[in-house]
């Protein structure tokens, strides 16, 4: 399968590394031979119908962008690359943009328009234009998979839609943001203030320098929208979510909660009549009491009762694992050609 990868941040690089690590496994187990025929980052792109040298790209990327790669096209955009490269599936890992979903939205639509399958880890376009993207995929008759956009390595989209295909999912309640879960976990275990825990998270590279999207709940809200649309079949966008972040949580509140056997967690609740993200009390020892950067989600189903998934919500290889699984699924669905 020929893949065009656009976006070479932590997740994009993770995808290259994952394919490198699992090359033989993929060939032996699935008869799947992945060839990268195009790769782009924000500085430029490379393409070669015979397949690019992944090791060389990863080495170069440690020092500089693809624009300065010896065989790179300086300044070539992802959009231009899609015109040049020959490929079967676009793997889109550009940064999440919650203003207009770009450049992810245009890339995805263009690939679909050209009859290519798409795997994405991006949340922005899905949270803003879910219906439009789904329609484009179905019109083009291509596969569009986005497990990595919610909860990194924690299985949820495919768990609900494939593994629990017999069940109607009544609600999904979960922790969908690892950064805030880390901050709240540290406040509970170390007795630190919100401010101290945030600084610690930034020093460890868990929180970004501008942590707004995480701590104000926007990131979790995007994921809630994707779950509402894809699992509950409830059409909505980011504007429909009631969002409250964790910036108002004090150490005093955490202590008062702990005295009664509770933890405070940033919880997303998605059901027929609820679509919200906010700090909630959860019982210590309950499935919601996951620590650190872990994500979790409990799906309430009509036939199977409650099903809970827990997993790493971020991380380069972890998120890439979900994208690679989606790629394998597409390969199998298309008859392993």
């Amino acid at each position: 399968m020929r893949i065009c990868l656009v976006g070479l941040g932590a997740v994009g690089q993770g995808f290259l590394r994952a394919v490198q690590m699992k090359g033989e496994y993929l060939r032996e187990r699935y008869g799947l031979d992945i060839r990268f025929t195009g790769v782009a980052d924000s500085s430029g792109a490379l393409h070669d119908p015979d397949g690019l040298d992944i090791r060389g790209i990863l080495e170069h990327k440690k020092r500089a962008g693809l624009g300065s790669h010896p065989s790179g096209y300086d300044g070539m955009t992802g959009d231009e690359l899609l015109d040049e490269a020959e490929y079967d599936c676009l793997v889109e890992a550009t940064p999440t943009n919650i203003e207009d979903g770009e450049p992810g939205r245009s890339l995805v639509l263009k690939a679909m328009g050209d009859g290519k399958h798409v795997v994405t880890s991006n949340k922005g376009h899905l949270a803003l234009f879910y219906s439009e993207l789904m329609e484009a995929a179905s019109e083009a008759g291509v596969e569009f998979m986005f497990e990595a956009s919610v909860g990194g390595a924690m299985p949820i989209i495919n768990l609900a839609r494939e593994t629990l295909a017999s069940c109607t999912i009544e609600s999904v309640i979960g922790i969908l943001n690892g950064t805030t879960n880390f901050i709240l976990s540290r406040m509970a275990s170390e007795g630190s203030s919100y401010r101290q825990a945030l600084i610690e998270a930034q020093e460890l590279g868990i929180a970004e320098t501008n942590p707004a999207q995480d701590v104000e709940g926007t990131d979790a809200a995007c994921k809630a929208v994707i779950i509402a649309n894809s699992i509950l079949g409830r059409p909505c966008t980011l504007r429909d979510v009631r969002v409250e972040g964790i910036t108002g949580i004090t150490q005093g509140a955490i202590e008062l909660a702990a005295q009664e056997g509770y933890l405070i967690k940033l919880i997303a609740e998605i059901s027929g009549d609820r679509l919200e993200v906010g700090p909630r009390l959860v019982r210590m020892g309950s499935p919601y009491a996951v620590d650190g950067t872990l994500n979790m989600a409990t799906l309430r189903t009509d036939l199977a009762g409650e099903v809970t998934a827990v997993g790493r919500g971020a991380g380069s290889l972890e998120t890439a694992s979900a994208m690679l699984t989606d790629t394998i699924t597409i390969w199998r669905k298309s008859g392993g050609r």
Binding site: I173, S193, Y194, R195, E244, G248, I249, T250, Q251, G252, A253, E255, L256, A257, Q259, E260, Y262, I264, K265, I267, E269, G278, P279, R280, L281, V282, Y288, D302
Partner: protein
Amino acid sequence: MRLNLVIELRDAPGQLVSVLEPLGSTGVNIVTVIHERDREYGPVVPVQLTVEGDRETLDAAIGRLQEQGVNIIEMDGAPLREKFTTILIGDIAEGDLQETVEAVNSVQGASVLDLSLRMSEGRSAARITVEAEHGSRDEVLRRINEAAMERNLLLVSEV
């Protein structure tokens, strides 16, 4: 001794058996089961149960129901009461707490069991533990939430 219970079950095949089997396995004697499916209740149906056994067995039986997440709405004719906790955070003035307590009391059968305050990072947090009749929890929370929003306080409630 005998115990009369009213439990809530989802109106779906197999629900009754899935509750009665584990209940029986605790050693309790199930005397009567009244399952009024013919009346229109919506997605949940109340089921009256009479069970017999010694104190310990009955306790085990109730524990088993609760473990399974079965809602017990009545025990020996009295509505079951439930306890829940919420936390308010922000610039909490004395009057705010007074009014929040009144908001809770305005719901029939609901009262504040405990109120604790903690100052940190220049803001107050108040933990309010409420006891209310089974089924009135959402109404109590709605009124607390109204009171909190009016005062620009953050409400943290149980999942």
